[in-house]
Symmetry: C2
Subunit: 386 residues, 2 copies
Amino acid sequence: MRPVAVIGIGKTPFGAFPDRGLRSLAVEAGEKCLKNGQTAPSQVDAFFLGNFAGPSFAGQNHLAPYISTALGIQGVPATRIEAACASSGSAFFHAFTGVASGVYDIVLVVGVEKMTSQPTPRVTEILAGAGDCSGEVKAGSTFASLFAMIARRHMHEFGTTRQHLAAVAVKNHANGALNPDAQMRKVITMEQAMACKPIADPLNLYDCSLISDGAAAVLLAPAERAGEFTDKPVRVMGIAQASDFVALDQKPDITTFPAVRLASEKAYRMAGIAPADVQLAELHDCFTIAEIIALEDLGFVERGQGGPYTLEGHTARTGGLPINTSGGLKSKGHPVGATGAAQICDLVMQMRCEAGDRQVPRHSVGLAENLGGSGASCVVTILGTV
Amino acid sequence: MRPVAVIGIGKTPFGAFPDRGLRSLAVEAGEKCLKNGQTAPSQVDAFFLGNFAGPSFAGQNHLAPYISTALGIQGVPATRIEAACASSGSAFFHAFTGVASGVYDIVLVVGVEKMTSQPTPRVTEILAGAGDCSGEVKAGSTFASLFAMIARRHMHEFGTTRQHLAAVAVKNHANGALNPDAQMRKVITMEQAMACKPIADPLNLYDCSLISDGAAAVLLAPAERAGEFTDKPVRVMGIAQASDFVALDQKPDITTFPAVRLASEKAYRMAGIAPADVQLAELHDCFTIAEIIALEDLGFVERGQGGPYTLEGHTARTGGLPINTSGGLKSKGHPVGATGAAQICDLVMQMRCEAGDRQVPRHSVGLAENLGGSGASCVVTILGTV
């Protein structure tokens, strides 16, 4: 396995864009990324698309060649990967594997989702397809209700409070307000976060990520060739994908995600680092409780300490371990198939000192955690400039 | 890149199974395959699922961990690949790449589709998602009509006739009648094939593949380890995936599929063989015209000669180049996400001399061609026992 570098990134803003289609968004991100990596479409050896539910949201399937050819990329393997909300994290993982093993040199990853053209109840129904439709969904579960059960159990086991959850929302909105590409650039107070209307008890509106349109893209190359394309390459130090049961009721403990633990252990080992070496991270805050559990599963804090750690400010931009400086899924937006690739883009922006008002001073080692469903898929990526 | 072998295969029958769900079919194929390859679920290093439209056909997304965990495969990367009707061919391609490059040792590929629970007009609509929905589909095209245009143009350019198309159907039904796992085990005469009711002129009912439920699975390992699992390993001599435009109107010539030509050229080069070295093949006869064009694009005959070659009997079981001894998509059935993996299974059965009444005498080098949409995705695989 040879060293691999990110040589280009590209993103659309995240938001609701009634006049933009799925392909238009994906092409914008892909073109920005190729330009950023000073690469022509004809130089791309393989194309991976991360997309969760294009057929249901946007009425189009067979999406990889549909998008690659619109980018001027022809002939090469063009493959769509679906792993629920970890679709483009998984696409990035397989792209990395292809470059690291020497099968390809230049690989473009695009993640995209176009969600807002469907009414909200239908969006909820489509998202529920990432859970067990014959069991938990048939019984009435939505993803908000699944994560509400997770939150309730975490409260019961560890004394996590509503205030801890709200602290995640307040922090991520503070970050997102500084991100010009974020969907909800709105600072919220602890009082607002605590008092907002309930969605699925104990989660309220500010505990839930957004319904979004958007795309993000990442370009990979062998590290030894990175200098041909950029003077700011970022190394993929470690990466792993792991899997687990889809249905929550099959898991012995719903306050931890084994796939996150397994993927991160593998990624740390590959990178040769410990959790304490990570300087910033983009975590999958589909719901506030998910960020708290991720802090624990990734080994940043002991089990049960994710809430207090957040409330004490350690994960703020000015804290010891800034989490979701992009605003996270909570404020930046969560076009599900784009989220994994966008996390990589946001880390790379920090590592290149291109993060503007939300730039953090320590940015040599960054981690992205991209979760699918209620933990059945997870990709953990560790990037470094060291 | 190290040599890779198929060490196990497993299939369900293809047909309409109203009492079987998508997961049940996939698990049956996967379990048969693991048993056939004498492999425990805990030995599998990665899982690839080929599925085109599970969310639309069966109401379930996030299918890779949904199926892998039901097979007892946990923790490892579990990834769904969607490439229209080439979904499990592409899954097989990426699985091969992972083993060949040394990333994984044992990889399980499962392809599955559960189509018959939807009414036929809805099936047609879902399948249309493999074409350009904003263009050709919006204008009223179905896949039958797209391939009807292709057939009409092929007739115009090369003098291909209705009789040539019918000869493909008659041959594939004759083969399928001998396949206990085929959906339509029915011999048809040339008269029946010529006179059947029209679907999209010049294609009639017997020119169209079937709407099917079914699953197929393939287990891969490094060739040097194959002996641990089977005494009948089959080598992957060459494989490639290629892409092209999704919309037919973007193609300069609709009587040839550039993705098939490109993928086969790469696969032949990798295998170090010429088309004349291939002894049998499973081709993607989603419509009879597709088999005729595949014969040409794969270099078995000159352009325009696919029809006459078939009518002369060269592609019959008793001919010089037996094509679709399984019955093909035409008679065996076409659960789209399962088809690519099933083609590999059917070739391996011939190469192991396990094909029963349809066994052919020359079976050392076999080729599978798995097409997505109207040619936007293609995977060509060459297997050998030499």
